[in-house]
Amino acid sequence: MSTDPYSANVRELFDAPAHAGCLEGAPSASAEDQGVRIRLCADVSQGEIRTLRFQAWGCPHVIAAAEAFCAGYERRPASALLEFSATDLMESLSVPVEKTGRILVIEDAVRSLGGVVRGASKPDE
């Protein structure tokens, strides 16, 4: 029986959050709720996410989930942001059910970022 509240995956992502930071001048979106603050930035070119960065204030699962999202969504179409669901992240990181609300804050931020990116990529009318 494991008594560790964190999976190996969470520990690894929390220890070395390679995508922590921000991108100056890039589209960004924030969300805050459940004692969690999250800000995401995306460098998008020709409809593809080139680089993602996050800033987060929250428990280890939140930081690990933010890192996992950023690592998993680079090189994907920007439109994928609008369809992002936190369910897969919750499963892959074994996030306890009582923390669902916190991870959904990330989902809010990602979808918000998708909206910002889509708005920024529309040609001026």
Binding site: P17, S30, E32, Q55, A56, W57, G58, C59
Partner: protein, 391 residues
């Protein structure tokens, strides 16, 4: 997970390793060659077991400067607290049903008081000052004609704050009110002279002072009106106050630990003070860091610090391989901010960021230096990845 050998244990307020001399004394009692017999048996082996228990009681009594007959063995401080509070309240309920305690007490004290409230007793819950210390004037103001029991801990398990039990006990005795002290964090660590102190009931445990888990004691002063009703029934042991077969090897372990503590207490205090001061000097300049509980009123083995704008659970993980506590160990599975720190006036966020560092005999200076480095780097890391607060 971190390997055992990499761990730096700074949670001595939660539990301590058993001193090898204590292990030796206990082991000798547990084998064929030892006096493993039931101390309730009347044969020679049983009587030898009784003698070993009596010797242990003398050792503990010597640490506390009291008579061994005033000590009742229990399973630990939680049971001692329950026996003292529930037992004294029941014994004296015909005289009155008003009781007083503090909001910053351990759950082993607050929960029995809450249970008594449900039984119709009236409980006054006193708040400490911001320093964590009880203003004795507020206690005096709360004492009434029908007050029967006051319970205030000696050293707070979360903050290390020391209460002036002499002054509190004097105020109680002037009004013929029983005074119980939860001394789980002080017996064997700070001088406790029960001959001199106006204390009627005192709870203690072995495992906080390099003895085994599963054994504690309750001191019951030998003076008129001081008595507790038993909580357990089933035998005549210990004057029927706490029946059950006495765990001789545990008791002998507690006795040995008490004797060791008595012989080296001043050295322990000096050692812990140096470690505590070194640690605080190493982190005190971090922006937003603050002490919970006044250091000048605190036991040097415990330092509790909060820091602004840091999430406590992430801080705890970032501090690994340090073994430290958020709130009390009994409360660590609970995500609620510490009720003790809230009673000191800390906000939920500051209480949630609190870490209790507690030091012990095995703690070395290099452990402290690593702890300073880990704490500072963890704070830098978490602040480095946190977004600005919304305006």
């Amino acid at each position: 997970m971190t390997d055992q050998q990499d761990l730096i244990y700074l949670d001595y307020a939660a539990s301590t390793p058993v001193d090898p001399r204590v292990v030796e004394a206990m082991t000798a009692l547990m084998t064929d060659a030892g006096n493993y017999a039931n101390p309730s048996s009347t044969h020679v082996a049983g009587r030898r077991s009784v003698e070993r228990i009596a010797r242990a009681a003398e050792q503990l009594a010597g640490l506390l400067n009291t008579d061994a007959d005033n000590l009742i063995w229990t399973s630990g401080a939680t049971e001692s607290d329950n026996l003292a509070i529930l037992g004294a309240a029941q014994y004296r309920q015909d005289r009155g049903r008003h009781l007083i305690t503090m909001r910053t007490e351990h759950k082993a004290v607050t929960d029995p008081f809450s249970a008594l409230e449900k039984q119709g007793f009236e409980v006054t819950w006193l708040d400490p000052e911001a320093s964590g210390v009880l203003d004795v004037a507020s206690l005096e103001a709360a004492l009434r004609q029908d007050t029967q029991l006051v319970s205030v801990m000696h050293v707070n398990n979360e903050t290390g704050v020391i209460q002036d039990i002499e002054q509190i006990g004097t105020a109680c005795h002037e009004r013929d009110v029983l005074f119980h002290v939860d001394a789980a964090q002080s017996v064997g660590k700070l001088p406790v002279d029960l001959e001199a102190l106006p204390v009627d009931l005192m709870s203690m445990t072995a495992h906080k002072v390099y003895g085994p888990k599963g054994i504690g004691a309750l001191y019951i002063a030998n003076r008129p009106g001081v008595h507790v009703d038993p909580l357990l029934f089933g035998g005549g042991q210990q004057r029927r106050l706490r029946p059950g077969t006495l765990p001789a090897q545990q008791i002998v372990g507690f006795g040995a630990a008490a004797e060791i503590a008595r012989s080296r207490m001043s050295d322990d205090i000096e050692h812990l003070s140096a470690l505590r001061d070194r640690f605080w000097s190493g982190i005190r300049d971090l922006p937003g860091v603050m002490l919970n509980g006044a250091i000048k009123h605190s036991f040097p083995g415990i330092l509790n610090v909060s820091i602004e704008d840091i999430e406590g659970e992430s801080l705890l993980l970032a501090l690994e391989p340090l073994c430290v506590a958020t709130g009390s160990a009994c409360n660590s599975q609970n995500q609620e901010p510490s009720y003790v720190l809230r009673a000191l006036g800390r906000s939920d966020a500051l209480a949630q960021s609190a870490i209790r560092f507690s030091f012990g005999r095995p703690t070395r200076v290099d452990h402290i230096d690593i702890a300073i480095e880990r704490y500072c780097s963890a704070i830098a890391k978490l602040r480095g990845i946190a977004p600005e607060r919304a305006a």
